[in-house]
């Protein structure tokens, strides 16, 4: 009644048809990928042409201002570009040193426009549009915030969380790092605040380790609090519900497993990127004019070693300087200014005199 040969033939047939179908799918997907790559290459070529045309348009009929290695291509306007460039160059040269010379080949494109007219102006897709009435100070900040240097290597860029530009509001930026160091929900951050340099190394993500989060949040309570604060919605779903509940019951192994399942970049660090950027700036300040070049020198070296090389001191000494800078920048907590008391007393006096002068006792 039951022929085993028939069954094996049917199974072979099924397997064959599945393999054939898989082969077809792979071929189809490969063809689609090839087609996408072709489209991407075509779009890239078109974008390059458009970019080049835009650059031509942006530079056509414009003046070039040269200050140091800064080059600014701009239309004629009352903008105080030269003064701003002179101010910016001092900062750029002191921060980037010889590397700043590369700016000769990477100009700014600036289109100054009249802010008081409603006439439509040509759209500029390359460079910056700036109103005529901008002050020297604003322009200097604009130039410093948009330095057209080539991007940093990927590793340094990821560690810094963006490009390394001159600091504009230095004291306020450091005060923000101070507040974060005091309030971060991490024992390592707290120990760093109290002056423990190895902990500073940890919270600044300078230990080359895949499981740095275990050092950022060393206790089970911290890891549970981290998950509860940042990932409760993400993990409270059927696929991870059992592990999530076990973690919330206090099973640290489950919490660690959940954190381990996250991409490294998604785990919130105790200190934000401005703390790391401040460390890089401290290294550049200590290292002098050639520091930026040394920082870029060996892109394969660990970040800590690169920073130490840039500063020209050991990493621990650099971290000590960084810590001293942060602690010295403790923000003023009480918002009543020094002359707030006399001002308030003055108003009380003025209002009291108003009360004395205004009377309901006059006879009509």
């Amino acid at each position: 009644m039951f022929d085993r040969r028939l069954v094996s033939i049917i199974l072979c047939g099924l397997a064959g048809s599945t393999l054939a179908a898989q082969g077809t799918s792979v071929t189809r997907l490969r063809r689609r990928a090839d087609s996408l790559a072709t489209e991407w290459r075509r779009a890239d070529a078109l974008a390059s042409v458009a970019d080049s045309l835009e650059r031509e348009r942006a530079t056509g009929g414009r003046d070039t201002i040269a200050v140091g290695a800064l080059r600014i291509v701009a239309n004629r306007s009352p903008l105080p570009l030269r003064e701003a460039a002179q101010r910016a160059w001092v900062v750029v040269d002191s921060m980037y040193g010889p590397v700043a010379q590369r700016l000769v080949t990477r100009p700014y494109f600036i289109l100054a426009f009249d802010p008081d007219t409603s006439v439509r102006r040509p759209v500029l897709r390359v460079g910056l549009e700036v109103p005529w009435n901008s002050t020297v100070n604003d322009l200097t900040h604009l130039l410093l915030a948009n330095i057209p240097l080539e991007p940093l290597d990927r590793r340094l860029d990821e560690w810094l969380g963006g490009p390394l530009r001159p600091r504009i509001e230095r004291s306020r930026d450091i005060a923000r790092v101070y507040v974060r160091l005091v309030t971060a929900p991490s024992q390592s951050a707290r120990r760093c605040f109290l002056g423990d340099v190895p902990s500073c190394r940890t919270v600044l993500d300078l230990n080359e380790s895949d499981s740095s989060y275990l050092q950022w949040y060393p206790s089970a309570a911290e890891r549970r609090a981290l998950l509860l604060r940042s990932f409760s919605d993400y993990f409270d779903r059927p696929a991870t519900l059992t592990t999530w509940r076990a973690c919330m019951r206090g099973e640290d192994a489950d919490c660690t497993q959940l954190i381990r399942s996250l991409p490294r970049g998604a785990i919130p660090q105790p200190l934000a990127s401005d703390a790391r950027r401040l460390l890089a700036h401290t290294a550049l300040r200590i290292g002098g004019r050639g520091a930026f070049g040394r920082l870029l020198g060996d892109s394969s070296a660990p970040i800590g070693a690169r920073l130490a090389a840039a500063a020209g001191v050991s990493l621990d000494s650099l971290l000590f300087c960084w810590h001293a800078d942060v602690v010295a920048a403790r923000p003023i907590a009480v918002s009543l200014p020094r002359w707030g008391v006399p001002a308030a007393l003055g108003w009380i006096l003025v209002l009291a005199v108003c009360g004395l002068r205004s009377s309901r006792w006059r006879v009509a």
Binding site: P185, R190, V341, L356, W361
Partner: protein, 218 residues
């Protein structure tokens, strides 16, 4: 004379002063609730600051409410009696008003002391994480100034004539009308914002009410 007027002032405003003193004493203690627990994690510094900041909104409100109520109570019996009692006194008007102002300011000392003592106790009892500091005296000074500014403002308004009140209302109305016309005419004129900036930024009269009222901060 001062003692007699102070006594009458106390009789009229004792309920307000008592409630204000209790509220002022309790507010710092409540704002730091849980910070005194020995088992509180030092990792909760951010949460503690958020709680203190949230409760901090109540200090200027309490100061403004106390200033308003004490100023109203200071003048209410005189207004009710059409100032006949005051006119029968052998005093120049300016002296009488000065005494009224001084007695009103004196009774505000109760709530101010309440806030000071409450803040000192709350900070002394709290276990603060490293890096955080208590500012009980700065907060108490600020509360005192805010309460006195509010009191002086409402005292002046309350002492004024109907004509003065009309002038003040007229100025406010004129600003609103100009603002509406400016908006209709699409003019870049923002009188309301400008006025707010002048009043609430230093050295404006209401600047003492603005900003963060933090009993605990970095």
């Amino acid at each position: 004379m001062f003692r007699a007027i102070l006594y009458s002032q106390w009789k009229w405003s004792r309920l307000i002063v008592a409630v204000g003193t209790i509220a002022g004493f309790a507010l710092p203690l409540v704002s730091l609730q849980g910070a005194a627990r020995a088992d509180r994690s030092p990792l909760e510094a951010e949460a503690l600051l958020h709680a203190v900041q949230a409760w901090g909104v109540l200090y200027p409100l309490l100061a403004a409410a106390l200033g308003l109520l004490v100023a109203i109570v200071t003048w209410a019996p005189d207004h009710r009696g059409r100032h006949i009692h005051a006119l029968t006194l052998p005093l120049a008007r300016w002296r009488y008003v000065l005494l009224r102002f001084a007695t009103g300011a004196t009774v505000l000392a109760g709530p101010i002391l309440g806030v000071t003592i409450g803040a000192l106790i709350a900070v002394a009892a709290a276990t603060l994480p490293p890096g955080l500091h208590g500012y009980p005296l700065a907060l108490a000074v600020r509360f005192a100034l805010a309460a006195l500014v509010a009191y002086a403002l409402f005292f002046a308004v309350s002492a004024g004539t109907a004509r003065t009140a009309g002038i003040i209302l007229g100025v406010i109305g004129a600003i609103v009308v100009v603002q509406v016309f400016a908006s209709v005419a699409n003019l870049e004129l923002n009188l309301a914002d400008h006025l707010q900036m002048v009043l609430t930024n230093w050295p404006g009269p209401l600047a003492v009410f603005t900003g963060r009222w933090m009993l605990i901060d970095v």
